[in-house]
Amino acid sequence: MDILDIIKPENQVFCKTKLMTDTALSYCPGCGHGTAHNLTMEVIDEMGIVEDTIGVAPVGCSVLAYDFMNIDMTQAAHGRAPAVATGIIRTWPEKYVFTYQGDGDLAAIGTAETIHACNRGENIVIIFINNGIYGMTGGQMAPTTLEGMHTSTSPYGREIKNMGSPLKITELIANLPGVYYVTRQSVHTHKHVRKAKKAIRTAFENTRLKKGLSFVEIVSNCNSGWKMTPNEANIWMEENMFSYFPLGDIKVDGKLK
């Protein structure tokens, strides 16, 4: 039997996401970025909106998101993606515009742009990959780094008195009236992947309905930055990250949960 006899649509359980390019992902094995990319592209493909979608890439490990996402994309300066997205959606109000940002990008250097784009209720989607660290630059402390967590700039563990508490930017944003939908997801198991995809779908549907800003946080691992194996990183994430950043919807249909 030839392999092509097996690869029939009716036999296929999984296939490559159509809107992902053939470029090999530059992410570390086991990193959540790739899965989050896939889900975003699947939603755009399934909604049939690729012709009207413009993505904004951040500075961070996902700076090259445009190498993998086969859609029109603009690469923003570090932290400025929500302002860049504002410029796009204001001049193309019928388009689907999303940003894809890490925690350093969104919650440190880009805090002002994030809060104000949210507060204006820009009709965009923000996908926020919270891995509690600066992955790209080699594992420095992020605003979301947990207390006691070791990074290259908190080598003795994050100390609250000196370095402040890990920032719950998502809860902060949920309180802004312009924000319509806020949820926190993860992509480390099949169950969580399915939920996260549903959340991303809801976010883009909100754009379609011109509901304002939708914010999807994905708590993700950074096994390289955390200095763990992928599996260890996922277990550590479940045991430590989820208690400080609990998964689930925070604001739905403009109402806080």
């Binding site: 690729v50 012709e51 009207d52 979608t53 413009i54 904004v56 890439a57 700076v63 090259l64 445009y66 086969n70 859609i71 029109d72 994309m73 603009t74 690469q75 923003a76 300066a77 400025r80 302002a83 860049v84 997205a85 504002t86 410029g87 796009i88 204001r90 001049t91 193309w92 388009k95 002002a112 742009e113 104000h116």
Partner: protein, 374 residues
């Protein structure tokens, strides 16, 4: 219909933006240019032409909104004054790198730091030598009248789209705040989304339809690719020098001495030229209209004719360096300028010309920068 009006420079620029069919303006208030966004907000351009006007949370956000809209091929601009322009430098550098067309306006005030809200030309270096990080230049237009505040909006966008590069209109608090009569251009219709996609669809991120995806980025992790990008930018700058240099000469034909000045300093120097000629001293004025490209060859040629050159600027001596480079030591070049928001009078300019150039004759000695300011 074109229309004759009495307006402030900042307002004329704002009105010109609406009439030029600009798609969006993003800004943040700062003296002495807040009239631009105030005028736009009052005029309701969204009703007149569909133009978007948004007050951003900062100059950083404003320039990145410009970056976003420009990456989709829209005609978009921002304005600010010196401290705000410093904040925009990151975004301007990104736009130069990503090859995006946009217009930035700087209505300069005195610095450094918070400085003063009074007029100044102290941002010359920042404007023509790069400003932000990396190997890039801006095409810089320097208006010297309210009329040019209006006219240069269209000119700036023409250049921005010709080269797909950010263009700077370098004004100052005097030109921005003073009232003069101005002939406003006819209303130009904004480009429809359909036409925009036809024109800019080959590069702009308008949504992937009937083509491969478009990417706007300034990042090239491979050195060879990055060098190719830098070379591509440098080629644009050479082309700008060949095709789009602008300057004006006044009374230069028979001049024995030359003043070089731009913007408000040029207006004042023009009067100084008149005063000099009344006294029988043959002085001419070279006014660079573009500061990059700079009229290097014109200065080089004039240096064969005149006995000395005075660079008149509202700063501690910046453009004078470029004048000296252009003149290649053929004749003495000196600087005269006031700072701190003080505006020199035509009499002061003439006096400086007489003291620093005319009467110095062959007994010149090397002077320190301090003594050249005073």
């Amino acid at each position: 219909m074109s229309e004759l009006k009495l307006m402030k420079g900042n307002e004329a620029l704002a009105e010109a933006a609406i009439r030029a069919g600009v798609d969006a303006y993003f800004g943040y208030p700062i003296t002495p240019q807040s009239e631009v966004i105030e005028y736009l907000m009052t005029e309701r351009p969204e009703l007149r032409t569909g133009m978007v006007v948004l007050q951003a949370e900062s100059e950083v956000a404003a320039i990145n909104m410009v970056y976003g809209a420009a990456s989709t091929g829209k005609k978009v601009m921002t304005s600010s004054s010196s401290p705000g322009i410093s904040l925009k430098q990151e975004g301007i550098s990104y736009m130069a790198g990503a090859e995006l067309p946009a217009v930035i306006v700087n209505v300069v005030r005195g610095g450094p730091g918070l400085g003063t809200i009074q007029p100044s030309q102290a941002d010359y270096f920042q404007s023509v030598k790069g400003g932000g990080h990396g190997d890039y230049k801006l095409y810089v237009l320097a208006p010297a009248s309210v009329q040019e505040m209006s006219d240069f909006v269209t000119d700036a966008f023409d250049i921005a789209f010709k080269y797909r590069a950010p263009v700077l209109i370098l004004s100052d608090g005097l030109i921005g705040q003073m009232m003069e009569k101005v002939v406003l251009k006819d209303q130009v219709e904004r480009i429809s989304d359909k036409d925009l996609i036809k024109m800019n669809g080959y590069w702009a991120t308008t949504g992937k339809k009937d083509r491969e995806r478009n990417i706007i980025t300034s990042l090239d992790l491979q050195s060879e690719k990055m060098e190719a990008r830098v070379h591509r930018l440098q080629k644009k700058y050479v082309k700008m020098e060949l095709e789009d240099l602008r300057y004006e000469t006044i009374d230069c034909e028979d001049a024995d001495y030359l003043i070089v000045a731009y913007g408000s300093s040029a207006r004042i120097s023009q009067k100084a030229v008149e005063l000099a000629r009344k006294k029988g001293i043959k002085v001419g004025l070279l006014r660079p209209i573009t500061l990059f490209p700079f009229p290097k060859k014109q200065l080089f040629d004039l240096a064969n004719q005149v006995k000395g050159i005075l660079s008149v600027e509202l700063n501690a001596g910046q453009m004078v360096e470029d004048v000296k480079l252009a003149v290649e030591h053929k004749v003495p070049v000196e600087h005269f300028g006031r700072t701190g928001g003080i505006i020199h009078t035509p009499e002061e300019v003439l006096e400086a010309l007489e003291q620093k150039i005319i009467n110095h004759g062959h007994f010149r000695h090397h002077k320190t920068r301090e003594s050249s300011i005073l």
